[in-house]
Point group: C2
Chain length 409, copies 2
Amino acid sequence: MDDRPFALTGLFRAGLPDPAPRFAGLPRYNFVYGHNDPSEVPADALAEAAAAVLRDSGRLLGMYNLGEAPQGHARLRAFVAAKLKRLSGITCSADDVLMTSGSLQAMDLVNNLFVAPGDTVILEEFTYGGAITKVQKLGARVVGAPLDEGGLRIDALRQILEDLKAEGVTPKYIYTIPTVQNPTGSILSLERRHGLIALSRAFGVPIFEDECYADLVWTGRRPPALYALDPARVVHIGSFSKSLAPALRVGYIVADWPVLGRILATKTDAGSGALEQMVVAEYAERHFEAHLGPLRTALRRKLDVLIDALGQEFGTAAELFVPEGGIFLWLKLPDHVDVRRFAGTALDAGLAFNPGPEWACAPETAKSHMRLCFALPTEEIIREGVAALARICFEQTGVPAHGVNRRRG
Amino acid sequence: MDDRPFALTGLFRAGLPDPAPRFAGLPRYNFVYGHNDPSEVPADALAEAAAAVLRDSGRLLGMYNLGEAPQGHARLRAFVAAKLKRLSGITCSADDVLMTSGSLQAMDLVNNLFVAPGDTVILEEFTYGGAITKVQKLGARVVGAPLDEGGLRIDALRQILEDLKAEGVTPKYIYTIPTVQNPTGSILSLERRHGLIALSRAFGVPIFEDECYADLVWTGRRPPALYALDPARVVHIGSFSKSLAPALRVGYIVADWPVLGRILATKTDAGSGALEQMVVAEYAERHFEAHLGPLRTALRRKLDVLIDALGQEFGTAAELFVPEGGIFLWLKLPDHVDVRRFAGTALDAGLAFNPGPEWACAPETAKSHMRLCFALPTEEIIREGVAALARICFEQTGVPAHGVNRRRG
């Protein structure tokens, strides 16, 4: 309260980030964050699962970790192992799975395992913005590896590794989102996956594989995970945030015990929430894969609406990187457009998007790009939002040309 | 798996803690951790709450933080604020509450706000072991403040603050568990609370108040929280772990915005699990305070069994610090007994206790102490376990004298 501000802020440690702003509500045209489509959350089935598992086993909540291993709920770890075998070709047991509070905690734990100030890590040139900032906060150097429409370019990555080797640098890991790359939406082919593993072997660099979108490939089919190809050099993370619901904080790390045992020793939170793990296990055993089909269909429909709206409003001024699954679209405006020039204006008008520079290892290389998440807004809001985006963009940059903008009518 | 160990452990960063051991199951006589009594977890009511809230609002799980502020579920924050007003005399709003993944994350966040290497913090001489190790890992100096049967000794604390001031040192905080102190079980009187606040004002040192056991006072009555007395210099944390279930990771920080806004900026996990927060809110609004009475009765009954068993097995050899609430008992054996001598033997025999040194700022001062948690084991297991403890202790130290041990028959 304003009449009694904390008296001793002078004792805060040095180096804290700036304070968080007060929450101002979600923007009307919300094209940011990994929200899902609320109408696709299986609320009734989750309610049934929660009631059943709490009646049956709720008393176990009286014990930390349900009295089980600190890696997390054994039943859910077994489900994750079985799911990864069916869908990603991974051979692992429940003992190779550590449940985390979403894939964000998984990333923090993996970073804490490998990265110290002055280290070097390789990220995809365009990647999840949080992956970049987390590494930068640890004082490490970020090297971006080029992408094309097929994902990581193996030839270019080899050159980077050779250059670093010539400098005497062994990167701590190569972070990749091979299946529905964030933000470009590509899927790395099996051939490139083998090429990436070969580079890991040749240069002695671990692969940090993030497959949090892999369940959302439009076709339902994906190549085997990198972890499936060589578990001795890959740390694999995943999540139920995109396939089920992001407000559930249920992610996981899959790795061999020499990795998990070290990570567990650094984990200070007495485990992730067990109720969420129990409910997801009960639900997922019965319904998970049946749930994915309709979810993908709904997301694909929203993507089509977004693509159509962008075509109407931007015409050829927007180059779209149509994703092979997932919840976001990466696009590029003409080279002379810097999306940072109107991101603030857009936000003031209730429209939020991810400016490309925040999703790029070298921000200037993505100054004309933006990422639009399409899972949360309704089709109507998508259309309204794209029209608003075109209007604001035109007002600030002259793009899209007015004629294109008017074609809509 | 053993045939494919991770190939690149040489790239782990320096300074990691030792690997965690593989989980070997819970010991039969389990007198450690803050487990609760599983038979007192309101499983059916939680099942009803979960089903109701998921049917009604489950779709909101499709948005991070349910589309609400990053501080956590607004309905639960409002319940916490109302509960703290009724039970702890605190005047705050939901905006002053930040939900955390248990009080352990709350501790990590508060430490991260204040503590840098080389800093000094004041803890109670005997305190939660995790509070000590967390601060030590941050490279800070721990100063222990003396306790008596009434909790923190204000006179002794004043002397410590004066001595530190003479050294030019301002401690970053005074950490206290004023209501059911861990491990001594005392309740700090209102007079001492005012004395502590006066010291905070005189020396400019914040108070870090941990009230995670405050709902478990036998009488149901407790003095106002320190935060109630002076919110401008207190950071308050609490939890539903002890009052409801520890496998739910639902704790909170109560503080003014200059504190919460800084903490929020350092929180990297996209919020705590929203399903757990929704279920706790739905349950707690209807049942929380009615639940506490029977829970306290059940815990008090187990404590009585423990006290009786210790009397039978140890006689006057064990000095008991009978707690005024909670889930643990602190005891002291004769000065020549070092409990560390038989803690390992006991564990091998399936009996776990907290050796006093792990719960002490100066380990040697508690070498004859131990903490026994009594909420999890049944009355039968408590009696068997105390008999096993007496036998092992006698074999290793000659205490309790055999005559006492035989009195039981």
